[in-house]
C-alpha cells in the first residue's frame, strides 16, 4: 500500500471539457460478505476496467490507488452501490457509477484522511475512465489553491496506470529489456523499479508527476507533466508537450517520439537505436527521426552491444560462410602468388634459384639480414621524407621494398618446395608428389605456406568452440609467414636480388678451412635437378 501512495499525485488527471464521454457495453459485479467488492465493465471502445475494494485497498485495474477503513462509510457506500445495480444492464450501471462519482465528490471532504484520499483518487479515475466533464473547481486531486489546468482537448481514454496493469505484460517487458541491451549495460531495468507502464493511450497532465521510470510498451503517452526517472520506449508514441519535463533519460528502441520544438524537456540523454523498414535503407536520416534511451551523466562509460546472438542454424550458416570465405581468400591468394611465381621462374629462374638457395642453405644469415632490413626500413623512409628533396624517391623506395618482399617470399616458397621435394616419404602417394623442378618447387612451397591459413579458416565451421585452436594455427601461420618473408627479404638483399651467390658449396671436397670459405661469394648455388 505504501508503494501506491506516491502515485496519488499521478492520479490528478483532469478530463478536458471537450472529452467524449464513454459508454459501458458490458458490466459484472462481484460481492462477497467480507472480501471483495468489485465492478468489472467494458467500455464501448473495448477497453476493460476493474474497480475493486479488497483488503482495505482500493484498486483500479489491479493497481492500488488508496486505502479505506474496513466497514467504514466509503466501503459501505461502495457495497451499497454494487448491490443496488447488481443484475442491471450496462447503461444502468453507468448511470449508477456517475451517481456514485457525485456522491464521492460531496462526501469525501467530511471523512477521515485515508478514506478521503481514496475517494478523491477513485473519483478521478472514474472521471478519466468514463470521460466525464469535471465541474469548474471540482478537480478532485488538485492541491488546494491551485488552478485547474487547461483542457488539452484530447479525445479518447486518458489514464495513468502506475506500476503495472491488470493484464500480463511480461513478454513486452522482456522484449524491451532485450532491445535495451543493444544500447548498453545501463539499459537493464527491473520490472519492480518501474513507476508506470504504458500499454494504451494515456496522458499525464501538467500538474502530475510520475515518481520513477516509465516503460512505454504500446499506445500513446502524451506527457504534459513530469517524469522523475527515465522513459524506456519499446513501441508506441511519446508526445512531449511544452511544459513536459523528464528528469532522467529517454531511451528508445522503437516507436516514435515527438519532442516538440526541441528536446529541452529532457534533462538527461536522448538515445535511440531503431531498426528501419527493410525497404527504406538509403534515404537520408530524417531530421525528426525519433530516438530515445537513458543513461546518467555518470562517469561510467557505456558501450553499444551487438545484437542478440542468433540461433543455432544461423550461427552454423554464418560459421560455414566464414569458413568458405576464408578458404576462398587463402585459395585466391595462393593462385595469384602461384601465377607470379611461375612467371618469375620462367623469366628469372636463375635469380630466383640463387635467392632460394641462399634462403635454404644460409637461412640464419638471410633471416638476420632481412630483420636488419626491416628494422632499417622506417628510419630510411623517415630520412627520405625529412629531406624533402628526396620525396621523389619515396615511391620508388616503397615499390622496391614491396617487390623485394614479394620476390623474397616467392624465393622462400621455392626453397620450401625444394626441401619438401628432397624429403623421402614412407607413403607411396606422397612419393609420387615429389618433383624436381623450379615450377614445382614454387607451387608446392606456396601451397605449404598457405595451408595453415586455409586450415585456420576451415575451423570456422566449429565456431567459437575452435577459437583457441584456430587462433593458435593462425598465430603460427602468421609468425611463419613473417619468418619466411624476412628470410626471403634478407636473401634478396644478400644476393642483390639474385645477382650474385653467397652460398657455400658444402658439397665440395674441401673441408672448411681447407679451401672453401663460408664467405666464398663466388661459389655457385646448388642447382636443383631439373627434370622438366
Amino acid at each position: 500500500m505504501t508503494r501506491t501512495l506516491p502515485f496519488l499525485a499521478c492520479l490528478a488527471v483532469v478530463l478536458p471539457a471537450s472529452a467524449q464521454e464513454a459508454g459501458i457495453a458490458d458490466a459484472a459485479i462481484t460481492l462477497s460478505a467480507a472480501g471483495r467488492a468489485e465492478l468489472w465493465f467494458e467500455l464501448e471502445s473495448g477497453t476493460e476496467h476493474r474497480l475493486r475494494f479488497e483488503g482495505e485497498t482500493v484498486e483500479v485495474d489491479g493497481i492500488g490507488i488508496g486505502s479505506y477503513a474496513e466497514r467504514g462509510d466509503l466501503e459501505s457506500a461502495w457495497r451499497a452501490f454494487l448491490r443496488e445495480h447488481a443484475g442491471e444492464d450496462a447503461s444502468a450501471v453507468r448511470g449508477g457509477l456517475v451517481e456514485f462519482r457525485r456522491f464521492l465528490e460531496e462526501w469525501s471532504s467530511a471523512e477521515e484522511v485515508a478514506d478521503g484520499e481514496a475517494a478523491r483518487a477513485l473519483a478521478g479515475r472514474i472521471d478519466a475512465i468514463l470521460g466525464l466533464a469535471v465541474p469548474a473547481g471540482a478537480a478532485p486531486a488538485l492541491p488546494a489553491g491551485e488552478a485547474a489546468p487547461e483542457a488539452p482537448g484530447q479525445p479518447g481514454p486518458m489514464q495513468i496506470v502506475p506500476g503495472g496493469l491488470g493484464f500480463d505484460v511480461t513478454g513486452e517487458l522482456d522484449r524491451l529489456r532485450e532491445a535495451l541491451g543493444r544500447l548498453g549495460d545501463s539499459g537493464e531495468f527491473s520490472e519492480g523499479g518501474l513507476a508506470m507502464i504504458v500499454h494504451g493511450d494515456y496522458e499525464v497532465l501538467a500538474e502530475a508527476t510520475i515518481p520513477g521510470d516509465v516503460a512505454i510498451l504500446d499506445g500513446t503517452l502524451r506527457l504534459a507533466g513530469g517524469v522523475e526517472g527515465d522513459i524506456l520506449m519499446l513501441d508506441g508514441v511519446l508526445v512531449l508537450d511544452g511544459d513536459a519535463r523528464v528528469r532522467g533519460d529517454v531511451l528508445q528502441v522503437g516507436g516514435e517520439v515527438d519532442f516538440g520544438e526541441d528536446a529541452s524537456s529532457v534533462e538527461g540523454e536522448i538515445l535511440s537505436d531503431i531498426r528501419l523498414a527493410p525497404s527504406a535503407p538509403s534515404a537520408p536520416a530524417a531530421p525528426d527521426a525519433p530516438s530515445v534511451r537513458q543513461v546518467e551523466s555518470s562517469e561510467a562509460p557505456m558501450q553499444m552491444r551487438p545484437p542478440q546472438p542468433p540461433g543455432f542454424w544461423s550461427r552454423l550458416a554464418r560459421n560455414f560462410g566464414r569458413a568458405v570465405e576464408g578458404v576462398i581468400a587463402a585459395g585466391s591468394t595462393f593462385m595469384v602468388l602461384a601465377v607470379l611465381g611461375l612467371l618469375l621462374v620462367y623469366f628469372g629462374r636463375r635469380r630466383l634459384e640463387t635467392v632460394s638457395d641462399t634462403v635454404r642453405l644460409e637461412f640464419a644469415r638471410s633471416f638476420a639480414m632481412g630483420l636488419a632490413g626491416e628494422v632499417l626500413f622506417v628510419p630510411v623512409l623517415l630520412v627520405l621524407i625529412a629531406l624533402v628533396v628526396t620525396w621523389l624517391v619515396v615511391p620508388f623506395f616503397l615499390l622496391a621494398v614491396w617487390l623485394a618482399g614479394v620476390f623474397g617470399y616467392l624465393a622462400a616458397a621455392h626453397a620450401s618446395g625444394e626441401i619438401f621435394a628432397r624429403r623421402r616419404f614412407r607413403t607411396e602417394w606422397l612419393e609420387r608428389l615429389r618433383r624436381s623442378n623450379s615450377y614445382y618447387y614454387v607451387v608446392s612451397g606456396l601451397a605449404l605456406l598457405m595451408l595453415p591459413f586455409a586450415a585456420g579458416a576451415v575451423l570456422w565451421v566449429f565456431g567459437g568452440a575452435a577459437d583457441f585452436v584456430r587462433g593458435l594455427i593462425l598465430f603460427v601461420a602468421g609468425v611463419g609467414t613473417w619468418v619466411v618473408v624476412t628470410a626471403g627479404f634478407g636473401g634478396v638483399l644478400l644476393t642483390r636480388a639474385g645477382g650474385r651467390s653467397v652460398v657455400v658449396d658444402w658439397s665440395a671436397d674441401s673441408a672448411p678451412g681447407e679451401g672453401a670459405s663460408p664467405r666464398a661469394e663466388t661459389d655457385p648455388p646448388s642447382a636443383p635437378v631439373d627434370d622438366a
Partner: protein
C-alpha cells in the same frame, strides 16, 4: 578480443606488405544482408559549460553544423547493422563534458565491441592509420553542435563525403583527419571563440576550406598527402596568424584577401605561382606586407605538384 583477431592485427603490418593487396584483390567480398538502423544520441547542457567531442566515422556522408539548439550535441547516424557498430562514450569531468563516438565497420571490431580498450585512453591521438575504413555509401552521420558552448572538436573521417558548416560555431580547437574523402569545410560566419590551433591532416582527398578568416585561428597546420586542395582565407580577420602547410603530391590553391598581408616561405619541388606576390630573399611577400593590420605568415613545403596563390 578473440585470438585470431589479435593475430590478424599483429600480423597485418607485415602480411599486408606482401599479401594485403593481393588478398583484397583476389578474395570475393561476401554479400551480407543489410539491416539499416537509425541511431541518435543527444543531451542537454545541464551543468556542462565546455565540451570535448571526438568523432570517428568510417565513411558515407558526414554533415557537421552549428545551430541554436538547446541541446549540447545531437548525433544522428544511419548505419547498416550488418557492417557497422556505433559506440559512444560520455564522461563528465568537472564542468567539461567529453563525448567520444565511433562508427566502425570491420567484423573484428564488431566482435570486439565489448572490449573496453577502445574507451580506455582518454588522450587518444587521432592518426590517419587509425581511421576506420570501408565507406558505407548509403550511410550518413549528422552532428549538430551547440553554438553557445565552447567546444573542442576532433573528427576522423575514413572515406566518403563530408560537409562541415562551422559558421557561428563556438570552437576552441578543431582537429580534422580525413582518409580518402571529399571534404568541404566552411566558416560562413565568424567562429565565436578564438581558436589556438586548427589542425587538418588529409590523405587522398579533394579538400576545400572556405572563409578560414572566420575561423579565428592563431595557427593553422595543414598536412596533405595526395589530392587537390583549396584553402580560402577570406573572412573577417581579427588578428594575425601563422600557417604551416605541407603538401605531398597534388595541387594547392590558396586565396588570400587583399587586405591581408601575406608572407610565404616555400620549399620543395612543387612549382609556386604567385602573380601578386614579390620574391624577396627566401620569402614571397604581398605588396602590403609591411602595412597590413592583419598578417598571415605561411610556411609551405610542397613535394610534387603545383601551388597557386591568389592575393586580392
Amino acid at each position: 578480443m578473440m585470438p585470431d583477431a589479435r593475430l590478424a592485427r599483429a600480423a597485418a603490418p607485415t602480411l599486408s606488405v606482401v599479401l594485403g593487396s593481393l588478398v583484397l584483390g583476389g578474395a570475393p567480398e561476401s554479400a551480407a544482408a543489410q539491416e539499416w538502423r537509425d541511431f541518435r544520441t543527444a543531451r542537454q547542457p545541464g551543468a556542462v559549460d565546455a565540451l570535448d567531442i571526438e568523432l570517428m566515422y568510417e565513411g558515407g556522408r558526414l554533415d557537421v553544423s552549428a545551430s541554436e539548439t538547446q541541446l549540447l550535441y545531437d548525433v544522428r547516424l544511419r548505419y547498416d547493422a550488418e557492417r557497422s557498430l556505433p559506440r559512444r562514450e560520455w564522461r563528465r569531468a568537472g564542468r567539461t563534458g567529453h563525448l567520444r563516438f565511433i562508427s566502425s565497420s570491420s567484423s573484428e571490431e564488431r566482435r570486439d565491441a565489448d572490449d573496453p580498450a577502445w574507451f580506455g585512453d582518454p588522450e587518444l591521438e587521432l592518426e590517419l592509420e587509425d581511421l576506420p575504413r570501408a565507406a558505407d555509401a548509403a550511410g550518413r552521420l549528422d552532428l549538430s553542435l551547440n553554438a553557445s558552448v565552447p567546444t573542442d572538436l576532433r573528427l576522423g573521417i575514413g572515406a566518403g563525403r563530408a560537409r562541415l558548416d562551422l559558421g557561428g560555431a563556438h570552437l576552441t580547437a578543431l582537429e580534422l583527419i580525413t582518409g580518402a574523402s571529399d571534404v568541404e569545410v566552411g566558416f560562413a560566419r565568424e567562429n565565436r571563440a578564438a581558436m589556438e590551433l586548427l589542425s587538418i591532416k588529409s590523405g587522398a582527398t579533394a579538400f576545400m576550406a572556405e572563409q578560414l578568416g572566420n575561423a579565428r585561428f592563431r595557427r593553422l597546420e595543414f598536412y596533405g598527402f595526395v589530392g587537390d586542395v583549396v584553402l580560402d582565407f577570406s573572412g573577417s580577420w581579427r588578428s594575425s596568424a601563422e600557417a604551416d602547410i605541407k603538401m605531398g603530391l597534388g595541387e594547392l590553391l590558396m586565396r588570400v584577401p587583399a587586405h591581408i598581408g601575406v608572407r610565404i616561405r616555400h620549399t620543395g619541388l612543387a612549382s609556386l605561382s604567385a602573380a601578386d606576390l614579390e620574391k624577396v630573399g627566401d620569402y614571397w611577400l604581398s605588396p602590403n606586407w609591411e602595412t597590413a593590420r592583419v598578417r598571415l605568415q605561411i610556411t609551405l613545403v610542397a613535394g610534387l605538384g603545383s601551388v597557386i596563390v591568389e592575393h586580392g
